[in-house]
């Protein structure tokens, strides 16, 4: 099961990220993970949150451009080589990763979590499942 990421357009200027976090704070949105992609002119904030629909609604109401993207989340054992072994499976199934970022949950100290944006989410999910890799569901993310 892929999960929803919210991507938000931000101008590359002081205060823009602050405006975004203000809207999310006032909307009582809890962030699980955050990553920023930047160019000289603009950035894209990528968020995993507890309530995607609510986050998208409060952002759009405040005039932000936000879009939802399907991404895959996997738990990675908190041991040396943990990520490497996961990527071995990506490599084997020839899944192309466009970008990825990590976060730590508070419930489970034995795992870290990786978010993957892949070129063909449908294919990637099926191929990885065949290899016994089950991505996290939206519900699981909520409870991490």
């Amino acid at each position: 099961m892929s999960i929803k990421q919210i991507s938000v357009f931000l101008e590359n200027q002081p205060g823009k990220l602050f405006e975004m976090t203000k809207v999310l704070a006032e909307g009582q949105v809890d962030m699980r993970a955050l990553s920023l992609a930047e160019t000289t002119d603009f950035g894209i904030a990528r968020l995993i949150v507890d309530n995607t629909d609510k986050a998208a609604a409060v952002l759009r109401d405040s005039g932000f451009i936000a879009t939802e993207t399907d991404v895959l989340a996997f738990a990675v054992p908190n041991t040396p080589g943990g990520l490497h072994r996961l990527l071995e499976e990506f490599n084997y199934t020839a899944v192309n990763i466009e970008y990825m970022y990590a976060f730590l949950g508070s419930a489970d100290k034995n795992n870290a979590y990786m978010i993957f944006r892949v070129s063909q989410p449908g294919y990637a999910e099926a191929a990885l499942k065949k290899r016994g890799l089950e991505p996290l569901t939206q519900e699981m993310i909520k409870n991490i």
Binding site: F9, L10, E11, T39, F42, R46, G63, I65, T67, T69
Partner: protein, 433 residues
């Protein structure tokens, strides 16, 4: 075979046109002197009387009228006929300040509609055609002008007015409309919509379009012609002079013929107000020599273009004006190149952006910097940096091809560029020269 609505006028020998213009000008100036105290005062200030105006060679002696005069004289100060002889008003949108309210006698309406009829016939229109007028009807001159012209030609007129795109398309398809009149940006939009609906150029009955009321590029013409499968003709006009039809394109699609039996055109230097020789680029000035209710004399349009009396392949002898490149009051010179905000607007609309933008010009190390800020649309946004940069590059390339110089395009979030109730602040020029 080229067809004309009034061939004896449209193809008259040059000497005849000049003679007619001279007679009408002398008569018009006398009439205005007697009936329009506002303009008479301007003439007196310049020391000119009707006796000094014998023909078009004396035109340069007369004072100019500008938008400021229209504001000052609003609403009745420039009226050339008693109100009881007037039958209609039309009005501008008022984006540059106070609305212009123009008055028409029945004679004025007739000559205006004749001008529009000439444009329709030049675009190939006959009484066999179905002419859909998708310009706004009401105070705006677009709808009423082309509607009247279409009647005069004898086309079956479909007065859809603007908006409601799906209904427009339904009428085009169900009634087999052959001629479409609207703004070029709306024509482009209709084309896109029909394409989305799976209608190719061969399945669209239209054969010609008459598009005006805003600046559009040659590229835009090609696009519209290809998607709708038509020939797209430009038409020019302004409410102050009647409305659309002051000038129109013929089959040559190379400049618009000015209806010289009604309007005398001059090109002046906007700063010195000196009349420039044929072929020079400058501000277009019009004198309406046959209009009664709202007789504009040497009215400064602020539109920048050039005139040519070179022989036209269509057979018409009336002078041609180039597409206006913009307006003298908002022209920028950046790195020595003339840039008009309207050109940028045209590109933005073509590329699917909102026409809300800001131009920031500055000078760094003796070189002009030229930034264009444009609002990103939600449709163009993805989580992928590269795709957004592709949009940015594509827009930059389109602007370079339109302007001839490279701007730096910055995409900003929607609604961050201030909207204004009146004329929007499009240009911030920080150069200290």
């Amino acid at each position: 075979m080229e067809r004309y609505y009034q061939p004896e006028i449209e193809c008259a020998p040059r000497e005849e046109i000049v003679k007619l213009q001279s007679e009408r000008l002398a008569k018009q100036v006398r009439r205005v002197w007697e009936n329009v105290p506002y303009y008479r005062r301007k003439m007196e200030e310049k020391g000119v009387s009707p006796d000094d105006i014998r023909g078009i060679e004396d035109l340069h002696k007369l004072p100019f009228l500008s938008k400021a005069d229209l504001r000052e004289a609003y609403p009745y100060g420039l009226l050339g006929k008693p109100l009881k002889d007037c039958v209609r008003i039309q009005s501008t949108s008022g984006t540059t300040g106070k609305r212009v309210v123009a008055f028409y006698t029945q004679h004025d309406i007739d000559l205006w509609e004749d001008c529009c009829a000439r444009a329709i016939v030049a675009a190939g229109g006959t009484d066999e055609d179905v002419c859909q007028v998708s310009y706004g009807y009401g105070l705006f001159t677009g709808g009423p002008g082309l509607n009247g012209g279409s009647h005069k030609v004898g086309c079956l007129t479909v007065p859809t007015s603007s908006g409601n795109t799906d209904r427009q398309i339904m009428f085009i398809q169900d009634l087999s409309a052959t001629i479409l009149c609207c703004t070029p940006s709306y024509a482009a939009y209709l084309g896109e919509r029909m394409k989305e609906m799976g209608l190719g150029p061969d399945e669209i009955p239209l054969k010609a379009g008459i598009f005006g009321a805003e600046a559009w590029s040659e590229e835009m013409r090609q696009d519209i012609q290809n998607t709708l499968g038509i020939r797209a003709y430009d038409i020019y006009g302004l409410t102050e002079l009647s409305g659309p039809g002051v000038a129109f394109e013929c089959s040559a699609q190379h400049g618009m013929h000015i209806n010289e039996d009604h309007f005398i055109a001059e090109i002046i230097d906007p700063d010195t107000e000196e009349v420039l020789p044929e072929g020079s680029v400058g501000e277009l000035v019009f004198t309406a020599i046959d209009k009664e209710a709202f007789p504009m004399i040497r009215y400064r349009t602020r539109d920048i273009c050039s005139l040519t009396r070179e022989k036209c392949s269509c057979g018409r002898t009336h002078v041609r004006m180039s597409k206006p490149m913009g307006r003298s009051d908002d022209m920028l010179i950046i790195r020595g190149v003339n840039v008009f905000p309207s050109q940028i607007e045209t590109v933005l609309l073509n590329q699917g952006y909102a026409a809300n933008y800001q131009i920031i010009v500055d000078r760094v190390n003796n070189t002009d910097t030229f930034d264009v800020q444009v609002e990103l649309t939600p449709e163009m946004f993805t989580d992928n940096v590269g795709e957004i940069q592709t949009h940015q590059k594509k827009l930059e390339a389109a602007l370079i091809s339109m302007l001839g110089i490279r701007p730096k395009v910055t995409l900003v979030a929607p609604k961050t560029i201030a909207r204004s109730e009146g004329k929007a602040v499009r240009v911030i020029d920080r150069r200290k020269i």
